[in-house]
């Protein structure tokens, strides 16, 4: 092997790459395609499905979900429903592990798809219950096989109604139905 051949080979590799299309993208204008399971920061929460059981708060490794409830006298699905007074997610300390979503028994909490929440101060990085109510319902399909089986992709921009987000994609039971089932169970 003549001396210098190794260097020459390397030079040819870089030269070939000069002609290759750049792999980086111009971020704010162009974006890489995001997978449907992407665990993003803006949580999607369906108040209709949530019973206020606070499982998510219990499973959170960081303990950043703060839930305050009061009895509401309503029921949803199979359980007693509490009225949510506070549902604060302190996103500054969130590490997007998704354990809260995994824990939610009623499929009320979903991961979001965003990643661009920059704030001037850390105390602003809290998602409050009002923001959760108002935010666009484009849930990530992470740990939500029912959404994935339907081929749902949050990047498409469609919103998912609370009736469609559940594990049993049926028509939601009426209030009377639920009340009856709840009473029978007791």
């Amino acid at each position: 092997m003549p001396f210098g051949l190794g260097i020459a080979k390397g030079m040819m590799v870089t030269l070939r790459n000069l002609a290759r299309k750049p792999v980086t993208v111009q971020y704010p204008e162009q974006r890489v395609t995001q997978n449907p399971r992407f665990r993003g920061e803006d949580f999607v929460w369906y108040e209709e499905r949530c019973t206020g059981c606070a499982s998510c708060a219990k499973y959170c490794p960081q303990g950043i979900i703060k839930i305050v409830t009061s009895p509401s006298g309503e029921q949803t699905q199979e359980g007693e429903k509490y009225k949510l007074e506070t549902f604060d997610i302190e996103i500054a300390r969130c590490m997007f592990c998704g354990l809260c979503v995994e824990a939610c028994p009623y499929d009320a909490l979903h991961m979001g798809t965003g990643f661009e929440r920059a704030m001037p101060r850390k105390s602003d990085l809290v998602i409050t219950v009002d923001e959760l109510r108002a935010s666009a319902k484009r849930p990530s399909t992470w740990f939500r096989p029912q959404l994935q089986d339907r081929g749902y992709d949050p990047a498409s921009g469609e919103e998912v109604s609370w009736q469609d987000a559940g594990r049993e994609a049926t028509v939601a039971p009426t209030y009377d139905d639920m009340l009856k089932r709840w009473v029978e169970k007791r």
Partner: protein
Amino acid sequence: MESSFDKNALFANLNDIFLDLLPESLSWMAYLGTGLTIILIMVNAVLMLTAFGTYMERRVLGRFQTRLGPNRVGPFGLLQPLADLLKLITKEDLRPESADKITFFLAPVLMVTSMLVVVAVVPFGKDSFLADLNIGVLYLVGIPTIATVSMFLGGWGSGNRFALLGAARAVAMLISYEVPMIVSLAGILILAGSMSLVDVVQAQQIPFILLQPIAFFVFLVSASAEMNRSPFDLMEAESELTAGFHTEFSGMRFGLLQLAEFGEVVVTSAILATLFLRGWENPFIPADWQQVLPPQLWLIGKMLFFMLIFTWIRATLPRMRIDQVMAFAWKVLFPLALINMFVTAALVVAWPDPTYTQLWIMVGVNWAVAIGCLTGYTLSRGRHRQKPTESVRLVQIPAEVN
């Protein structure tokens, strides 16, 4: 001196204009004014070229690495150098307490000056140059050495140990690389019979890159060492010495150092083009082939070509270690340059006034010597060298099914 100016059409024309403008009694000022104007034009041209060169280098380096490179400021990011300049100017100018005031101030200035002064002797056309020194080549190798001094001043004066190490490396290395550089130019001087760069360009019936392949290689390598480009960027080795001799510089001082460093690339490209690629003339083999471009553009085009080559090298090669760099200079480049000098001298003794055919024979001989040197070096290393990848072998352990 007078004759040199007579040859210079640029000077003569400008001088006439100034003579027309100025009253009779102030005609001595025309001489001064002309000189200053030309210097202003040249310095700005070089600085603009440097700025464009940094932009080009960053874009091309980006493409080598399959990324985009700067493309935000202005169309295609062309105004990026301007944005860099603005940023550097507005930065706070810090000087460490332990730094020596005078040397710390002097280093960037000296470095930029030494880079700019070299351009004086580069001919941009047959009659378009600042000065046609009859010791042009000597000037070329002498002046850039000031940059070494300024690096040492900057490194030592910073009062920082990283900077000190970088400065020590710079001095040790640059002094050794001067030697093969000068000796490699001896072959060219023998062939051209003159030290004036204008004469060197005109002597190139066949571009010297063909006639002097060894000299070209040695000069290219020692020039990239001289302007501390990869793989010889030891004095500012980022992964070892953070930034080497300019660790402590900030703001526009840092900007000046970077400018000088990149300016050297531009200047060296110009020198390479002049010495080896027929300067302002077209580089093609039939020398009387149609002159399609104005001479200045030919030179700039060749400079861009060499800058591209430097970028390519920088994109590919890792850095060498200081002892390997020194060994390379003294054990490889210096003997090569000597061999080249002796072969060229022998050829010139054989044909003192070569015809075109004899020149081509010279090309053949020189290339044969170059290939012989490469083969010899490979063989001398090859006897006790195995393929590097042979040191790791694959061990097969049968899979145990559990």
